[in-house]
Structures are given as structure tokens and as C-alpha cells.
């Protein structure tokens, strides 16, 4: 409870800073796609997108100040199962020599 009220004592500055960073990240994504970075184009785009998603989850969805640790467990297990889905599928389709 005290943790909760502390995190909301002066949140406006944080909110506007996160908002500005998200807009800068969007512009970065747009212009980075115009550069020829070879195979790294996709990596750069995904790194920027993941950074933006983390900013939204931690500050806008208040996961950073969450008093309930179970929430963090839910988020970690979501990411685990999503990466299981993507990694195992790509490990299969990515290594099929005959296709």
C-alpha cells in the first residue's frame, strides 16, 4: 500500500518522459528502416519495438510499482510460453533443408 502511493506521488513527469521516448522510438523505427543495414534491419526494428513495449508495460501499465509479485510471475510465464512457441517453430522451419 505504501509502495503504491509512493509510485504515484509525482508520476506526471515520468508519464510525459515515457510518451516522448515512445514517439522518438517510432521515428527511429521509421528512419532506421530506410537505412541499408543488411540482415540487421529486422533486428534493429525488433529491438526498438521491444524497448517501447517494455516502457509501456513498466510505466504505463504500472508493473514497476506493482505491489503483487504474482503479476510479475504472469508476465514472465507469458514471455516464456511465447518464446517457446516462436523459438521451437523457427527451429523446425528454419532448419528444413528440403524447403
Amino acid at each position: 500500500m505504501s509502495d503504491h502511493s509512493n509510485s504515484h506521488s509525482s508520476p506526471l513527469k515520468t508519464y510525459f518522459a515515457v510518451w516522448a521516448s515512445l514517439l522518438v522510438g517510432t521515428a527511429l523505427t521509421y528512419y532506421a528502416a530506410k537505412l541499408d543495414l543488411g540482415v540487421f534491419n529486422a533486428a534493429v526494428a525488433l529491438i526498438i519495438a521491444t524497448t517501447k513495449a517494455m516502457l509501456v508495460v513498466l510505466f504505463f501499465m504500472h508493473l514497476r510499482g506493482a505491489s503483487e509479485k504474482l503479476l510479475k510471475l504472469v508476465v514472465v510465464s507469458t514471455l516464456f510460453f511465447l518464446s517457446l512457441l516462436l523459438a521451437l517453430s523457427m527451429a523446425d522451419y528454419g532448419t528444413r533443408l528440403w524447403s
Binding site: Y15, L22, A33, V56, S67, E68, S77, L85
Partner: protein, 238 residues
Amino acid sequence: MSDSQILVESQGGSHGPHNPALLHHFSTEQQQKDSADLGMWIFLATEVMFFGGLFCAYLIYRRWYYGDFAAASSSIDAALGGTNTAVLICSSLTVVLAIWAAQTARRNLLIVMLILTMLFGCVFLGIKAKEYKDKFDEHHVPGASFSFEHQPIPGHPGEYANPVHAEIFFALYFVMTGLHALHMIIGLGLFSWLLWGAWKGRFTPEYHTPLEIGGLYWHFVDIVWIYLFPLLYLIDRH
């Protein structure tokens, strides 16, 4: 836990004997709020897996038909997609400001922020409709009238995209952005209900859980778009 219980009880004492929003099967307001939060995060976990299957299909086909995907992606207006990303980010800001307004008992600001959020949501859907209309005019919608002949593959002069493979890109494009747009429409419905509650003065610094839960949903939909934008609009743009 006992600390927070005492705190809640002492707060309850200053605002009256019992907060009417506290349901009888919860012992404290904090426990009731934590339960609602946990339920919403678990729902969002199922949503991540729901969209995850589509992202997985996208990754597999993109790997197989990279050139065709790049050609199809280049036919979409990236400036519209970028504008929509900015619009959604602004709507996420107005959502957190709405919650802050409820926490600090600013009813008028809360109502203004909820209306702004819904306006941004409508602007997003309007731009999306314009984008879909362009695709219909260009016959880029999968189906009987689909046509994607003689479209050059970026970075490979003299080579043209295979229309069958490009059609797969557009199928994924319409399903993923369409499902996302459906979530936006549901979000607008949720926020109309929140606006009604805010108008009635239902939300107080002690009780505004529906706003926080609705906000979690809105931010999740924003995050899905943050990934959709570079993956669908920005393949091989240089």
C-alpha cells in the same frame, strides 16, 4: 499484509464506515484490487498467445518468401502506419493521465482524458479505413479480384514478386490488422462504459479499479501495434 489492512481500515474510518465498492468476499480493498489486476494480466497472457500464433505464421512465411513479402509490404503507405503508431501512443498517454486524474479526484480532467482517448481511437480507425480502402482500390485484398502482377522485388532489379506469395502477405496483413482493429473497437466500447461511470462520479481516489483494468487492455492493444507497425509496414524499405 497486516500493515496494509490497518492502513485500509484507518482510511476507511476517515471516509465512512465501509466503502460500498468493497465486495463482501474480499477482506480489504487492496486485496480486491490485486485480484482484479491478476485476473486482467492472466487474460492479457491469453491474448499474447492468441496474437502469438499469427506472429509465428508471419515469421515462417516471411522467412520462406522474403522478397515477395518485401514487395507486398512496400505497397502499403508506411507514413499512414507511422502516424497511426503516434496516435496510439498519444492515446496511451491520455489513459494514464485519466487514471491519474481519478487518483487525484479531478473529475473534469478524467472525463476530458477519456474523451480524448476515444477520439484518438477513432482517428486510428479512420486512418485504418483509408488504408484498407487503398488496398481494395489496388486489388490487393486476397480473393477472386486479387492482382499483384509485375511488382518489383526491392534490391533485386528485374525480378518480380510471385503474386501467390504476395497474397499470403496480404492475408496475414488483413487478419492481423483486422484483429487489432476489432480490439480497438472493443476498447472504444469499454471506454464508453468508463466514460459513463466517470460522468456518474463512480470513480474516487479510493476506488477506480475499472479504469485501471480498462487501461491495461488499452495499453496491451497499443503494444500489439508497436510490433505490427515495423513487421508489416517496414520490410526492406531502403
